[in-house]
Symmetry: C2
Subunit: 177 residues, 2 copies
DNA sequence: CAATCCGATTGCATTTTGCAATCAGTTGCA
DNA sequence: TGCAACTGATTGCAAAATGCAATCGGATTG
């Protein structure tokens, strides 16, 4: 995962950022799953990332300017990862990727609820969601009127159940062994 | 490059299709550069793909349903590769990827002309371009009125000069050695 | 008939990945 | 106080993917 430049083409450079099997998965879990800690990303990843790869990618994404890291005041050893504006603006790409996958790939219905919501909401919904992310990760003022259901809430509801089930499975396997 | 499924999440499945360093580069050169032959992809790739990797990826993209291969009537040994509808609908993703890269990455101005055009044209332009691709690769009837400049022509003009320069460089290095 | 072009394939060194075990420091609870 | 559980990682090692150069047999061109 070296950061060399093969060419100055925008698509190529984008690929050099997340043209690997894990970077975008991590960003997906942070953006849509609300993960902020190492252990959350490790244990609640549907795809089961290895801890060394996760550590490496977090470091790399920080070097590239997509993430920042800060101490969690509640725990001296905890680190809290935040999305930068650079990462937040990946939302439209994620939405397109999800929409394409939903059409052409053997997606699980449960897991494509998020992609469906993003697709139906279109760019206005993406913008609202990005604002919410800016509020959570960059401390920007919230533009959502109080009482309004956030995009985040809508996105997570169904998904969390699946992820939780998966995490439970993994815990069982671990205790059996 | 095995085709296993880590999860049924649309974003994950999409990543398993082109979450590597080369698949999307090849598709980019076919979609925007009009490459149809092995040698074209090999010698006119800005990034310099190796022939074994190219062969492997073409095979893989065919297995995944993104490309088809046919004999070129003009030459018994030539194979002509075509985009499927599945690949053509990647245009919006490519456009988003290019737009994002243009904002956040150190793109070369020359090489970002394409991304800029796609961005300015927006979804209507993407649609027109996709129709042109369907015409060229799937034999669909052309919807573009005769005499109208195609998106393809606009996209290629500036880019080809850069690629040609690069190919010339490579030829020089080869003859020197 | 020789040089060149065609889509690949082979062999080999290097890099990346996946997996399990482990680390030292921190915290919660009895 | 003591100890288990949890924190973000790191290490060692085998397997897989990649990059590179050389090469293949057949087809075409001059």
């Amino acid at each position: 995962m070296n950061i060399d430049r093969r060419s100055g083409c925008p698509i190529n450079l984008s690929l050099e950022v997340f043209g690997d099997r894990w970077s975008l998965i991590i960003l997906r879990d942070m953006i849509f799953g609300g993960r902020r800690h190492f252990r959350e990303l490790l244990n609640f990843s549907l795809e089961g990332i290895a801890s060394n790869i996760l550590a490496d990618r977090l470091k790399r994404l920080m070097a590239l300017g997509l993430l920042t890291k800060a101490d969690d005041p509640s725990h001296k050893q905890k680190a809290i990862y935040s999305l930068t504006e650079m990462a937040i603006t990946l939302v439209p790409i994620m939405a397109q990727l999800g929409a394409w996958g939903r059409v052409w790939l053997p997606v699980t219905e449960e897991l494509s609820i998020r992609a469906e919501l993003l697709e139906k909401g279109g760019p206005p919904l993406w913008e609202q969601f990005m604002d919410e992310l800016r509020h959570e990760h960059l401390g920007a003022p919230s533009r959502t009127p109080p009482g309004t259901p956030t995009v985040r809430q809508q996105l997570r509801a169904a998904y969390e159940a699946v992820v939780e089930r998966k995490a439970e499975e993994l815990r069982l396997i671990k205790t059996e062994a």
